[in-house]
């Protein structure tokens, strides 16, 4: 299974969600390959340090992740494209109509924690984990 997680800048939510998905996959012995990207990315910028910090608190290292754009190759590669904003889902479906069926909204909106204090990043991390666990990709695969 190949999962692409998409947010706006690819500096907070999608790298966090990608890290969480990798962790869940390991815990549930699911063969999962994960990428993340942004619809309005910052070329080459490293992931926000607060995002790195709150992920480190739960043993996930995303410190080497950097902001990347959503490419046609990424969308083609993915079996499932997960987005954190309603608007992003529409945008991707319009831009990649043949991939529309595999675009999935985690929730209507997962608030962008950018520049917020650490507790907001924690809240975002926990919300992302809760939503990721609802994805059908883990079903019947719990160890």
């Amino acid at each position: 299974m190949r999962l692409l997680v998409v947010c706006a800048g690819n500096t907070c939510r999608s790298p966090m969600a990608a890290g969480l998905a990798r962790k869940i996959a390991v815990e549930r012995s699911v063969d999962l390959d994960v990428r993340s990207a942004g619809v309005a990315h910052h070329p080459g910028r490293l992931v926000e340090r607060k995002a790195v910090a709150v992920m480190a608190e739960i043993g996930i290292d995303i410190s080497t992740e950097y902001s990347k754009p959503v490419t046609p190759n990424d969308v083609d590669w993915a079996d499932l494209v997960v987005v954190v904003e309603h608007e992003h889902a529409f945008y991707l479906a319009e831009k990649y109509p043949t991939a529309a069926a595999k675009i999935h909204e985690l929730a209507s909106d997962v608030q962008d924690p950018y520049c917020q204090p650490l507790p907001e990043y924690r809240k975002c991390r926990d919300r992302l984990e809760e939503l990721l666990l609802r994805l059908p990709i883990w079903r019947n695969r719990a160890v």
């Binding site: 947010c7 706006a8 800048g9 309005a40 910028r45 608007e87 992003h88 962008d112």
Partner: protein, 173 residues
Amino acid sequence: MDDVALRRERRQRLVEQFLAEFGVSSQQLATSTNKCLDEWARQLMLVQDQPSANLANVVLQLCCAVEAELAVTLGREPGLEFLAGDGALGDKARRLSQVDARTKQRLTAKGVKVGLLGELQRLLSQLARIRRETRAAHGGVALQTATSADAKQTRQITGTIFKRVQTTRTVTR
């Protein structure tokens, strides 16, 4: 009405709201300009309430709209054809400062205000600077970070250019 139509309507509303701030309507603008503005609205919707987003594409689409509008207005005037060319914004601004006296006289005779070219030169230079600093270059490959302040300033300059250029439309047609 389906989602696609609703979203198209919302984009159109965003465009009209923006233009109305400067006393302009989309019907006064060229089709190519409106196409850029529609894409601007799409990019704007994408990054609204997304503080982590890079607004370079928002800046870029407004620059495209300015170039498109200048191409079909003043760019059709003899001596100002460079405005319809592929040159960079900064280059177009520089060339506006070098327009010959005969072209200026011809424009003045047509009713175009004397100071328009100078003002356009200044506004285009400002746009070029934002685009250079945010690297909101065509092609999307080299996009760098653009902030909401960059987008706001670009919006102000774009609206002002549209407003100024509309005064020439009737005389350059």
